[in-house]
Amino acid sequence: MMNVGGKMIKKGEWVRIHKIILEPSERAPQVPEDTKKVPLEMWDKGFLQADAEIGDEVTVETVTGRKETGTLIEVNPSYRHDFGKFIPELLAIDKQVREILFGGEGK
């Protein structure tokens, strides 16, 4: 079979999946208007149960041994959160509290 898609990800690899749990029409009646317009989505991670490509519908086995299905979105999913862009206001706070407590800078 010709592989017209992306790279084949092997069974047993650690992957992240995504799926829609509730369509907008199925949402709880009490949610606000903006939330009502969008689906309830889910993300989970697990070991791929069969070879697949990114974008395929797959089954994974999670670390608790559950089977979960969804769209394959990432292999060896990384953590990308960090310390963000620098906030210079924090330097001003340091300077201020030290000045108040310990006197001005420069003797």
Binding site: A28, P32, E41, D44, G46, I87, E89, I100, L101
Partner: protein, 466 residues
């Protein structure tokens, strides 16, 4: 026979699923009306304070240090009137495994699950409780699933919550992440039904009782080191468990401390709104939980919440997001302590309240939380700025949640703002009557007086006005 798994059908099975997963028959405590026997329910955890302490010590939880913040105290005295400025202390709960006081709740809940023979535990939380449950499950050899509300419809996740997912996974848990919405509860119920795991709910009696050791331990530490109880104990307040457990523990020690609840002010933001989800910079310890859960505790996942903060709050104050961020930076700069911002909500309030007190008085902030990538003032402020939130120095009293974060241009601008407790008491009484649709009997009136830490006269007066 396969059960129907659509939203409506699953929610209809809620009571049955809860009963199996929590192991408590709540009907035993009901009166058939507004009142229920709260103390009986708390006793039925079957764990005495000593047993809870032993459980916690056996899993390395508790016995955390109390630290005096001499430089923050000095700073508060530069803002305070003459001879005012109480000594400020914090209880370093970040020292617990998983990095927060939640370890105390989790230790008891997970121990209980193991004792009852459950193979795993599930908790619905975007907060530190998830990591605490994962940590305790790891020690106890139980499986763990944490269900989090993490992303908005654009797939953007709040840095604090993303870090918590990482932490839970690092501790061996499965993390199921959802987009914004209360229907998280539906997925949570489905998972409970599928796995048969224990619901390590934040609102079960043993969870709350687990926090009593925090209050009790604090009393013992203060008496030993300072010869007296803390005059004021400030508790960050969201779902009410932190304050309830601490207050009950203080009471068990016979402590004379005033208990103050503190929440970050997020008024105007709707917690279930997809668009507003990432316009706040605090995901816990805020009024979005604090107000509704204080005025109607039984909105929790269990029929009767063990967290009932209005019974114990002597005072409830709010602080602005900017004030908490400022204090978090000051804590690092002046005390050499880097701690997570959410855990400093009570510290921001204490900084202000200390200025109303005498210099020989003691004010305790009863928790801290760990910090790291995502869970830090830097990324939280950076995220806010990227989302169009204006950040500037000024008067934090003018902060509009969702629009700006105002860092105090001088520490003297930090003010703990009082919430009208009587208004909250009236709200609770009103909701009780409208929920149960009954004419309150004398048993209900006595119960409501306890619920609101008021009197039967107050309750009767409110009922008359309805």
């Amino acid at each position: 026979m396969t059960k129907a798994n659509d939203y409506g059908s699953v929610m209809a099975r809620k009571a049955e699923i809860m009963l199996k997963s929590v192991g408590i028959d709540y009907s035993k405590f009901e009166s058939g009306s507004i009142a229920f026997d709260y103390e009986k329910m708390m006793r039925e955890t079957g764990y005495t304070l000593e047993e809870m302490q032993n459980i916690q010590y056996s899993v390395n939880v508790g016995n955390t240090p109390v630290l005096e913040l001499k430089n923050l105290t000095a700073l508060t005295r530069t803002c305070a009137p003459k001879e005012k400025g109480a000594r400020i202390f914090i209880k370093d709960e970040a020292c617990n495994p998983s990095g927060s006081f939640k370890a105390r709740r989790a230790a008891n809940a997970v121990y209980h699950a193991k004792r009852l023979g459950y193979k795993g535990v599930i908790a619905a939380t975007s907060g530190n409780y998830g990591a605490a449950v994962a940590s305790q499950a790891a020690i106890t050899g139980l499986k763990c699933i944490i269900v989090q509300e993490c992303y908005d419809s654009k797939g953007v996740g709040q840095p604090e919550i993303v870090e918590k997912a990482r932490k839970c996974e690092a501790l061996g848990a499965e993390v199921v992440q959802l987009s914004v919405g209360p229907e998280l509860f539906y997925k949570f119920l489905l998972l409970l039904e599928e796995t048969g795991y224990f619901n390590a709910s934040l609102y079960t009696p043993f969870g709350i009782a687990g926090v009593e050791t925090l209050g009790y331990e604090t009393s013992m530490q203060f008496r030993e080191k300072y010869g007296k109880d803390a005059d004021v104990v400030v508790c960050t307040n969201a779902g009410g468990g932190n304050l309830t457990g601490t207050a009950r523990g203080l009471a068990k020690a016979g402590a004379a401390s005033q208990v103050v609840g503190a929440s970050v002010n997020l008024s105007g933001l709707h917690m279930a709104s997809d668009g507003q989800f990432n316009r706040k910079s605090f995901t816990t310890g805020h009024t979005g939980f604090g107000m509704p859960f204080s005025t109607w505790p039984d909105r929790s996942d269990v029929p009767r919440s063990a967290a009932r903060p209005l019974r114990y709050m002597d005072r409830y104050v709010t602080v602005a997001q900017g004030e908490v961020f400022y204090i978090t930076e000051a804590l690092a700069s002046l005390e050499g302590l880097e701690k997570g911002p959410a855990g400093n909500t009570a510290l921001a309030a204490a900084f202000s309240i200390a200025q109303e007190m005498n210099q020989d008085q003691l004010i305790l902030v009863q928790e801290t939380e760990y910090t790291g990538a995502g869970k830090h003032i830097q990324p939280q402020l950076s995220f806010a700025r990227d989302n169009g939130i204006e950040i500037f120095f000024g008067d934090p009293g003018e902060e509009v949640p969702g629009q700006n974060i105002i860092l105090p241009s001088h520490p003297s601008l930090i003010k703990a703002r009082d919430v009208d407790l009587d208004h909250m008491r009236r709200s609770l009484i009103k909701t009780a009557v409208s929920t149960y649709q009954v004419e309150p009997r004398s048993e209900d009136i006595a119960f409501l007086a306890e619920e609101t830490n008021s009197s039967t006269e107050f309750v009767r007066e409110v009922l008359k006005s309805l």
